[in-house]
C-alpha cells in the first residue's frame, strides 16, 4: 500500500510538469491551430529565468578580510552579495535563498514577451501553411533558442536549489498513519501546477476575455465577423501559453538542474501527452499529463519491471500508439476535431 501511494505521488509530480507543458501546447493548438515544436524551448527559457534571477541576486562585491587567511596564507577575499550588504545578512540571505519562487515574478513578463515576439515575428506567417511546415519552422526556432541559451549559460547543468525551508523531506503519510517520506519541493510543485491549471481554467471560464477566446476556438471566423479582433486575443493567449510553459520550467529547476537541452527532452513526451489527451482539448491535456505521469512511475516499480522488462522506458509511447490507433481523437478530444 505504501509503495502504491508513493508511486502515485511520484507520478503526480512528473505528471504536473507534463500537464503544464501540454496545457500550453494545447492552448496554442486550440486557438491558433499551430503545432508548436518550440514549446519545449519555452519551458527551458523559463528554467533559465530562474537561473538568471539567482545570478542577479547573487551579484556581489569583494572585500579583503585580514582576519582570515586562505590555504596559501594570503588574506582571504570574501564575496558579499549586495543584497546582504543592503538588507543585512539575515534578510538578504533569505531573499537569495528564495530565488526560485521569486523568479516566478520575473519569468511571467519575460515569457509573455517572448511569446508575443515569437507569435508576431514568425508564427503568424504560418497559419495558412500545412502542419508539416509549422512543425519545421518551430523546430528550427527551437534549435536557435536552445543555442542562444547555450551560448550565454554554457552546456553544463546549473544548480538552482529550492529555498532551504522547502528543500527537505516530509512524511506525508503521517496524516493517514503510514510512513511515506517525500521531498517537500515536489509537493510544492504539484500544488503550484494545480494552482496554475485552475487559474487558466477559471480565466477561460469566468471572464469575458476567456469567453471570447473559447468562442474563437470553436469558430474563429464567426467571432471575427462579429467585429471582435480575435487575432489580438489569440496573440495574448500565445503569450499566456508561453508563460505557463515558462512557469513550469521555473519551478522545475530545483528538481532537475536546468541545461540547454531539457526542453527537447520534454517536448516529445509532452506532444505524446497532448495527443493522448486529444488535440485541442484542455481538460484532456491535464488529465493525460497526470495519467501518463502516474503510469510511468508505476511502470518503473521493480515488481512490474521484472514482469515485463523495459516497460518503464516505453510505457508512454506504447499508450500513445494504442490510443492513436483505437481512438484517434484522444481521451477527451471533441468528435470530428483533427480525427484524421
Amino acid at each position: 500500500m505504501d509503495a502504491i501511494l508513493l508511486q502515485i505521488l511520484n507520478g503526480l509530480d512528473k505528471g504536473s510538469a507534463y500537464a503544464l507543458i501540454a496545457l500550453g501546447l494545447t492552448l496554442i493548438f486550440g486557438t491558433l491551430g499551430v503545432v508548436n515544436f518550440a514549446h519545449g524551448a519555452l519551458f527551458m527559457i523559463g528554467a533559465f529565468c530562474a537561473v538568471t534571477v539567482q545570478r542577479i541576486l547573487n551579484i556581489s562585491f569583494e572585500t579583503v578580510d585580514p582576519t582570515q587567511t586562505d590555504f596559501l596564507g594570503n588574506a582571504l577575499i570574501v564575496k558579499t552579495p549586495y543584497l546582504e550588504a543592503w538588507f543585512g545578512p539575515e534578510t538578504g540571505g533569505s531573499i537569495i535563498d528564495w530565488a526560485v519562487p521569486l523568479a516566478i515574478l520575473f519569468a511571467i513578463p519575460v515569457m509573455v514577451f517572448v511569446g508575443f515576439a515569437m507569435e508576431r515575428g514568425l508564427i503568424k506567417h504560418f497559419y495558412k501553411r500545412p502542419h508539416a511546415d509549422q512543425i519545421l519552422v518551430t523546430f528550427g526556432l527551437a534549435i536557435v533558442l536552445q543555442e542562444m541559451i547555450k551560448f550565454f549559460y554554457g552546456a553544463n547543468p546549473i544548480q538552482t536549489p529550492a529555498p532551504e525551508m522547502l528543500s527537505g523531506i516530509v512524511n506525508v503519510g503521517a496524516i493517514i498513519g503510514m510512513d511515506i517520506v517525500y521531498p517537500v519541493w515536489r509537493i510544492v510543485y504539484f500544488f503550484f501546477s494545480l494552482l496554475v491549471i485552475g487559474g487558466i481554467f477559471s480565466f477561460l471560464q469566468f471572464t469575458t476575455f476567456g469567453m471570447v477566446v473559447r468562442a474563437g476556438m470553436a469558430d474563429r471566423e464567426t467571432v471575427g465577423l462579429l467585429g471582435i479582433n480575435i487575432d489580438k486575443r489569440f496573440t495574448i493567449m500565445f503569450g499566456i501559453a508561453a508563460a505557463v510553459a515558462g512557469l513550469a520550467g521555473v519551478m522545475y529547476t530545483p528538481i532537475n538542474s536546468p541545461n540547454y537541452h531539457m526542453g527537447m527532452d520534454f517536448l516529445v513526451l509532452s506532444f505524446v501527452v497532448v495527443v493522448v489527451g486529444g488535440m485541442g482539448s484542455l481538460p484532456g491535456a491535464v488529465l493525460a499529463g497526470f495519467l501518463l505521469g502516474i503510469l510511468e512511475s508505476f511502470a518503473s516499480m521493480n515488481e512490474i519491471k521484472s514482469l515485463i522488462p523495459g516497460i518503464d522506458q516505453i510505457i508512454i509511447y506504447l499508450v500513445a500508439i494504442i490510443i492513436l490507433l483505437v481512438r484517434p481523437r484522444g481521451l477527451m478530444g471533441r468528435k470530428g476535431v483533427m480525427e484524421e
Binding site: 514568425l122 512543425i135 500508439i321 484524421e340
Partner: protein, 400 residues
C-alpha cells in the same frame, strides 16, 4: 539512357562526375596554406557526405513524394548499423553480407512500423513515428543491452566468433572491414605539388552505392508508382473517393525509404564498425529532415545537396575558433577586429548549430523549395536579365 530522359541522364552523370572527382573538388586549397582547414577532402568526411546523401535521398522518397513527415527515420539507420556490426561479429568482415542484412532488417522494421503508423496521417503520423523511434532508442539503451551493448555501443572485440574469417589477425588485432580483401580504410594518397589528394576505398564504395541509390530514386520519381505517390500528396481524399486504396503505395514508399536508411546505416558501420543508440535518437531523425528541407524536398538532387551542406558545415564551420577569427580579421584595426570577432564568434565553432537553425528557419519561411528553389530563382533571374536586354516588354499572364 537507362530508361531516363535527357535531363535526368545529365543530372545522374553530373552527380557521378562530382562524386568520382570529389577528392579533387573538395580539396581546392594546398595542404600548407591557411585555407586548408576548409578542405573537406579527407576520407572520413567524404564518406559521411555520401552516406548521409543516401539517407536523405531515401527520406525524400517518403516525405518529398507523399508528404508524410516521418520524425523517426533515424531508428532505421540505427537498426542498419546494429545489423551490420552483428554480421561482422558473427559471419565475416566482408561488407556485402553486412549491408544486405542491414537493408533487410531495416525493411522488416519499416514494414511493421509503417503498417501501424500509416493508419494515421498528418501530425498523428509524425508523432507515431516519433514514438516508435523513441521506443527503439530507449530499448536499445536499456533492456536490449545484450544485443546493443547499451550506452557503450556495439563494437568488435578480439574474441568474436567469426565463422568465415579469423576472430583476430596474426598480430592479435581486430581485423578490418573489407570488400573481398580490399580494405575499406585503405587510402591512396596522391601528392601533386602542394596538394595532397586522398582516394579512399570506403569512400568509392559508398559513392558507387550512392549513384545506384540516386538512379533508383530517379526511376521511382518518374515511374507510375511515383506519380501515384504524388497524387497521395496533393489529394489523398480524392484518391480514396475514386475507389483506390492508397495505403499499399504509401507503405511501399515507407519501406523503401526505411531500406535506404538501413543501407546508410550499414555503410556507416562498414566504414567504422561500431553502432550506438544515439544514432536512433529523435534529434538524429530531425537532422535528416533538416537535410531534405534545406536541399529541397521533392526534388531529386536537393537531399544530396542538403546532406552535403549540413555535413560540411558541421565539420568545417565548427572548427573555426576564436584564434582563427583573429587571424582573419587581423589586418583590421584592433577595436574593429575585436568587435567583428565578438559578432561572428557566436555563429561559428561550437555555435554553428545556431547558424544552422537560423538558416533553416529562413529556408522554411522564404524558400520552401530549399537550395534547389534558390538556385532556380537565381537562374530565372539571370535569364530574365539577359532576355530583358532584348525584349523589354513583360509577358502577359494568360487568364485562368
Amino acid at each position: 539512357m537507362l530508361g531516363m530522359n535527357k535531363n535526368d541522364t545529365t543530372m545522374l552523370l553530373l552527380v557521378a562526375v562530382l562524386t568520382m572527382l570529389a577528392p579533387f573538388i573538395l580539396n581546392p586549397f594546398p595542404t600548407e596554406s591557411g585555407w586548408a582547414q576548409f578542405n573537406a577532402g579527407y576520407p572520413d568526411l567524404m564518406q559521411r557526405f555520401v552516406i548521409f546523401g543516401i539517407f536523405a535521398i531515401g527520406f525524400n522518397i517518403l516525405f518529398g513524394l507523399t508528404g508524410y513527415l516521418s520524425f523517426g527515420h533515424a531508428a532505421f539507420l540505427g537498426i542498419g548499423s546494429y545489423s551490420a556490426v552483428w554480421m561482422f561479429k558473427l559471419l565475416s568482415m566482408n561488407v556485402i553480407p553486412a549491408i544486405l542484412l542491414s537493408v533487410a532488417m531495416a525493411g522488416v522494421f519499416a514494414l511493421v512500423i509503417g503498417y501501424i503508423s500509416l493508419r494515421r496521417s498528418g501530425i498523428y503520423f509524425s508523432i507515431l513515428t516519433l514514438a516508435f523511434a523513441q521506443m527503439s532508442f530507449n530499448l536499445a539503451y536499456s533492456v536490449l543491452t545484450p544485443i546493443t551493448n547499451g550506452e557503450t555501443g556495439l563494437q568488435l572485440t578480439l574474441n568474436d566468433p567469426r565463422i568465415l574469417g579469423l576472430s583476430q589477425t596474426a598480430d592479435g588485432s581486430i581485423p578490418v572491414t573489407s570488400l573481398f580483401g580490399l580494405e575499406m580504410r585503405s587510402t591512396f594518397e596522391m601528392v601533386l605539388g602542394p596538394w595532397a589528394f586522398q582516394f579512399n576505398v570506403g569512400y568509392y564504395l559508398s559513392a558507387l552505392v550512392l549513384l545506384a541509390a540516386f538512379y533508383l530514386s530517379i526511376r521511382i520519381f518518374r515511374s507510375p508508382f511515383g506519380l501515384m505517390l504524388r497524387a497521395v500528396k496533393s489529394n489523398q481524399q480524392r484518391m480514396n473517393y475514386t475507389g483506390l486504396n492508397t495505403r499499399p503505395y504509401t507503405l511501399a514508399a515507407f519501406v523503401i525509404s526505411g531500406m535506404y536508411a538501413g543501407l546508410a546505416g550499414g555503410l556507416l558501420a562498414s566504414m567504422d564498425p561500431l553502432a550506438g543508440a544515439e544514432r536512433m535518437q529523435w534529434t538524429a531523425s530531425g537532422e535528416v529532415v533538416l537535410m531534405t528541407i534545406l536541399g529541397g524536398a521533392g526534388t531529386l538532387i536537393g537531399p544530396v545537396l542538403g546532406a552535403g551542406f549540413i555535413k560540411y558545415f558541421e565539420n568545417i564551420f565548427s572548427k573555426i575558433n576564436e584564434n582563427v577569427l583573429h587571424g582573419w580579421f587581423g589586418a583590421l584595426p584592433d577595436g574593429l577586429e575585436d568587435l567583428l570577432v565578438t559578432l561572428v564568434y557566436p555563429f561559428v565553432g561550437k555555435g554553428w548549430h545556431m547558424t544552422l537553425g537560423i538558416l533553416f528557419v529562413l529556408v522554411v519561411v522564404f524558400l520552401p523549395g530549399g537550395l534547389v528553389e534558390g538556385g532556380q530563382r537565381i537562374a530565372a533571374w539571370l535569364r530574365r536579365k539577359k532576355a530583358g536586354k532584348n525584349t523589354p516588354t513583360s509577358t502577359i499572364e494568360p487568364a485562368e
